[in-house]
Structures are given as C-alpha cells and as structure tokens.
Amino acid sequence: MSSHNTIHRRLAVPLAALALLAAATGTSAREPFTAAELKSMEDKLLASVQRGYDMWYGGRADMANNGLACANCHPDAAATNPQTFPKFLPVFNKVVAYRDMVNWCIENPQGGKALALNSDDMTALEAYSFYLHRGAKIETGLSTRQTASPAVTTARGFAGKSTGIGFDK
C-alpha cells in the first residue's frame, strides 16, 4: 500500500504541471473517438436496442410456446430492474446475473427455449432493458420491494404512425 501511495505522490506533481501547461496553451488531449466513430457506435447500440425491443414484444418465436412475450408482464421493461443485478434469487438459490433471469422467464412463464447466454440476441434483450433504465441508481441486490417502472417520457409511443420503436430516444 505504501509503495502505491509513493507512486501516486510522485506522479501527482508532474501531472498537475501538465494540466496547467495544457490550460495555459489552450490545447487538450485528443478525444478517444471522432464524432463519426461515436455516431457509428451509437447507431450499433440503438440497432441492438431495437432488436431487443422487437424480441421483447414477441419477435422471436422460439422464446415462447404459449404466445407470451416479455412485454406481457414488462411493458417498457417495467419491473425488470436490471440495475439490481447481480442478486440472490430464491428461485435459483444463488446469485445470478440479469441474463439468467431473462432465460428463467423465457423457460418458465413463456415456456420457450433459453437463449445462449453469450448470444447477440441475449445482448439485445439486455440492451433494450438497460437502455430504458439508464440513469437508474445501481442497487445491486435489491430484490423484493415494489419498484417503479422506468420513466419513458417521450410521446413517441403515440406518434400517430408506426416508428417501430418503443423506447425513448
């Protein structure tokens, strides 16, 4: 521990000097990504969110054998609480990740076939639910109390024409 503190103290002076120099000359460190790169990444994320939305509302048939979709019980990803995972769930008798609970829902109330845990489709389901919960306080372990649905404030849900998108963007 003491050696780490020593290193930190030794680095602190030159880093502060560099920061002062940058401020004085008006220069700054290069952004890690260009605007075009950021847009490309954002587009790829939203495409995954869109895929997740479609699956959430019944877009992948083998996720159910009884017609039920995630959205039957979780409109707008309500009461999914991804910000509370990992957590202990009695039905598993162990600490599980969000995607474990997703597969539990697919296999039990929906009677469907579980998704591969490392599949793009599983990531898409997570992307949709997590996207709607962005900004939520991480409360790992919360498991029982009634929690509020994510606030989806846009009126886009009632756009008057199909956007195919049910999330706030």
Binding site: N66, D76, A78, N108, T144, V152, S162, G166
Partner: protein, 339 residues
Amino acid sequence: MSDSSDPSRRQFLGFTGKAGLSTFAASAVGVNLGMVDVVAAQTGRRAVTPFRFAIISDPHLYSAKDHVFDKQLEDAVAQVNALATQPDFVLITGDVSHHGELDQLAKGKRILSKLKAPIRSIPGEHDWYLDMGVGWKAAFGEETWSFNHKGVHFIGMNSILVPDFWTAAKLTPAQRRDWFMPLNSPVPGLWGVHEKQLEWLRKDVANISADVPVVVFTHSPLWDYYPRWNFQVSDSQQVRDILGKFTNVMGFHGHVHHTIYNQVGNLTSVGTMSTSWPWPYPPIQLPFPEYQQYRADPSNTSDGMGSASVAIDAGGGGFMQHLPFADSLPPAMKNGYKV
C-alpha cells in the same frame, strides 16, 4: 388519505349492521316495502336493497388447449362461486380473449358459463379490433348498456374506441388487431368512449335522480392514470361531467391488471386484478399508494391475480373486496375497503 382506515371500516360495518337488522325485522313481519321505507328514511337517500356483485377482469384467453390462462379464469370462476353470499351478477370488464379470435371468445363464454350468477360484459381492446367487435357482441351482447338493480343504476361502456387508423393504411384485420397488442403501442393512440356513447349517456341519466347511486364499468380507468399505457379514457372528463350531478358514482375498471384506487370529484375509481398476469405500476406518484398490491413473485404463478366482490349497502355505498389467488394485498386492502 385512506378510506379504509379503521374508523371508516367500523362505521361501514356499523351501518350495514343496522341495515341488516332492518332487513331482518322487515322480513320477519313480511313487509319488505316497509323495510325499504325505513332504510330510506334513515339514510335520506332513495331506497337500496343491499346486494353484491362480482368482477372478473382481463382473462386474455389464448387459443391453445389447456393454456395456463384457462386454468386461472377457472380459478376465478371457482372463487366467485364459492362466495358465501352469492353475487346477483358478475361483471366481466373486458379482454376475455387475447387475439379476439372466435375460439377464444367461445372458450371464455364456456368457462364463464360455469358461474352460478349471470354475467354482464364490456369489451377490451383485445376483444375488439380483429373484427370490430362482431364476434364479441355475438358472444356477450351489446357493448353499451345500463340497467337498474335494487335501487342502483348500472352503466357499461366501451372505452377502447379510437379513430380509424387502418383504412388509409390498408391494414388487414389481423394487422389492425396486432397494433393494439403492445401496451405502449405507437399506432392506435389514446382511446375513449367517443361522442355516440357520450350522447347515449346524457340521455340515459337525464331522468335519473341525483341521489341514485351509480356504478359505471369501463375497460380502462375514467381518469388520466398513465396515458402511455392507455390507462385512461381520452374523454373521461366528459363522462365525469355527465355523471357529475350524482352524489355517489363508483367506477370499476380492468385493463391495468393491478389494484388502483382514486377519487376524482364524485367518482370513486377502482381498478381490479386480472386473472391472466399482473402489470407493474407505472412510474408516477399513485394518488392512494396504500391501495397498491404487493409486487408479484414471478416464481409463484398464482401471485398478483384474482377476482373481486363488491357489496352495496342500504345507503348505496360500496364495499370492495379484492379476491387474490395468493397473498397479494397490503393491510389497507386485505379486509376490504369502502368505495
């Protein structure tokens, strides 16, 4: 804030106790009309003969044989049939079917026919938009109705009407129906009862005395609960205005798949549990949070659902008792509450 606090409940029980004594005394001497007059004199209201009705909401039946929702509706039917005091009728507050298919409606009618009491129904959006209510009406009758029962005026209305979005878009009936399936569907927009039913309602209540208790059923709530999920009726203000002259209006609705309570002017609005699945509460401040049911345990397939029973007392007041399949009710609702 709560009307279900102990004093109110004691007051209610005390009142029904008096009414029950009056009923007993009148029956004993065989003068029912005389009993009614006594009750009217006591309450200053028009005469109401105490009775019960039950509510079953949102069965959402699928076509598959032995679907889990079939059993849950059968459980609700068994609950109501087991009530010690049988209801005079059972109100089905819509979405008997999930896709509006004829076989789903027929299945619903078949299961509901096992009820000892007769049923009255209003449609939900899932029943309606495959064939614009043709199949539902053939199975369950008109979507707009009223009747008087033992001194109470009952009204049922179709609250899931939207302007035509399908003709210009050349949608098939199944596509039109499917746009109603997601709770937050981006296409149909806010639904309501619309002018034809508003005009009907104006005429229906025009000659009814303001002191007659009114009970109104709609699929969705007659206040702006959470419009994004159509937990609303777009012209509910007009409905409330028309019913504004009445001293006591009790509104019961389905659609929200959970317990919810509110008071708006003279309207006391109560939402019921479904028999199919529970919906989470939306991200708003509930007007009466103590009427929020417990969060359902997904591993308990019976949790968060059920039926309901409503007792109407001699003063025209109502007493609501949710009938959950599992232990879903907090203390404010567990033993029933005044509406």
